[in-house]
């Protein structure tokens, strides 16, 4: 029996082991290489995806868990208007340096703004607290999300 799920709006039936990691399957079999593998243990947020509307680390999800679920990766979110705003504010505030954490940051920001369109700085920090960045020192990222919210980013 295969595992049915929806990936970035496309229905999939996937025939593999239920114990495989979503992160590996997304990268190796669906070329969603914007989903990065940083730590393998849920501590860095680089592999963030949206599972049925909620932010999760795809390294922490076995394929059986996505049975009948909807997954959105940065490759799917990239097609939205909300992404265009975040893309611009991240560039304008200098929130990207090496870029490795950026897809996870954008996905975490999208999940926050979907739930809370006008977050405080403290709420932004809390929402991004599971996403590590070793280049920018975070302040530029917080500003980018804050600016996107003020510009009406509604994922």
């Amino acid at each position: 029996m295969s595992i049915p799920f929806t990936l970035n709006g496309t229905p999939i039936t996937w025939d593999g082991s239920a114990t495989d990691r979503l992160l590996d399957v997304l990268r190796a079999e669906f070329t969603c290489t914007g989903v990065k593998c940083g730590c393998n243990e849920g501590e860095c947020g680089a592999c963030s995806v949206i599972l049925d509307g909620q932010l999760v680390n795809s390294c922490m999800v076995a394929m059986g868990r996505v049975w009948d679920s909807e997954i959105t990766t940065i490759e799917g979110f990239r097609e939205t208007e909300a992404f265009q705003i975040l893309d611009r504010t991240f560039a304008e505030t200098g929130a990207v340096q090496c870029g490795f954490c950026t897809p996870g940051m954008i996905i975490a920001a999208a999940c926050l703004l979907q739930r809370n369109p006008s977050p405080t700085a403290a709420e932004i920090r809390e929402a991004l607290s599971g996403n590590l960045c070793r280049c920018t020192g975070y302040n530029a990222i917080i500003s980018a999300v804050d600016r996107a919210a003020k510009e009406g980013c509604r994922p």
Partner: protein, 274 residues
């Protein structure tokens, strides 16, 4: 499905649990971090009885597969549990991690388990033949050793509706988010007519299991808050005699010193709150 089952009902889940060699999969965060993905998982997130929160006169009943996010957003969740959960890992982990998984992983560092000990929660376990209910303290036999049969599942965490009114909670970790507890403390109490009428304390992450010593807390019960200083050293000495922290990433000596400091803070807090 290869190497997995996704039951839609509790009856179906219990039948599979009896028939097959499976590892129950709650939120998966501990299982996936362990990296060895051999074996077969029993995915429980589709079972309605395991994913809902209900209330009756006696208990707030948390389905074992309720996520931390679900529990923290529920209006009836006690404030001390909300505070402890909000300090677990980060939002993405709290969206996956479950209360039953935190218990079933068997670690004394599990931050929600500390609160379940302090609240004297009970667990409802089931197999295909029926159920049993036992105090969470009886469920833990040692590190990673649980009173759970091969064919049983944790179905609900039962939190007594009647609980002390005030609390303090401390988590000692290396950073604000994504921190594994180096030590954690929960203390709850009630005062009526100037006397302590209830007191329940627990320590996490210091020994192989969460430490909960009601016989020591008993020293404080019935004592007028204004007279607490008279039993202070008796209480601290009784605790000190029973605490045997283990050496790990941090030393046993450090752990014990912090435990006793937290108990002093706890007593100060009781007095200053009045």
């Amino acid at each position: 499905m290869k190497n997995g089952f996704v039951p839609q009902t509790l009856t179906e889940a219990l039948a599979i649990r009896r028939r097959e060699q499976v590892t129950p999969y709650g939120g998966g965060t501990d299982l996936m971090a362990e990296h060895h993905r051999a074996g077969t998982y029993l995915f429980l997130h589709r079972v309605p009885e395991l994913t809902r929160i209900t209330e009756d006169d006696t208990y707030l009943r948390l389905g074992a597969c309720c996520t931390f996010t679900q529990v923290v957003n529920h209006p009836a969740t006690p404030a001390i549990l909300k505070e402890a959960i909000s300090r677990i890992a980060a939002p993405a982990i709290r969206n996956l991690g479950t209360v039953g998984g935190n218990i079933g992983n068997g670690s004394a560092k599990a931050d929600s388990v500390l609160i379940f000990f302090a609240l004297d929660a009970k667990l409802r376990l089931m197999n295909a033949d029926g159920e049993r209910i036992l105090p969470i303290r009886a469920f833990y036999k040692g590190r990673k050793e649980l009173d759970l049969a091969e064919d049983e599942l944790i179905v609900e965490v039962l939190l007594p509706r009647q609980m002390p009114e005030r609390y303090i909670y401390h988590k000692v970790g290396a950073r604000a988010a994504l921190a594994i507890s180096r030590l954690s403390f929960a203390g709850l109490w009630s005062v009526e007519d100037g006397k302590l009428t209830a007191c329940a304390t627990a320590f996490g992450a210091i020994e192989q299991m969460v430490v909960r010593l009601p016989e020591v807390d008993e020293i404080l019960i019935g004592v007028p808050v204004a007279q607490l200083h008279r039993v202070r050293s008796q209480y601290l000495q009784a605790y000190s005699a029973k605490l045997n922290p283990i050496d790990g990433r941090i030393s046993a000596l450090y752990r014990k010193s912090v435990c006793l400091n937290l108990l002093e803070d706890f007593l100060d807090q009781i007095q200053s709150a009045e």
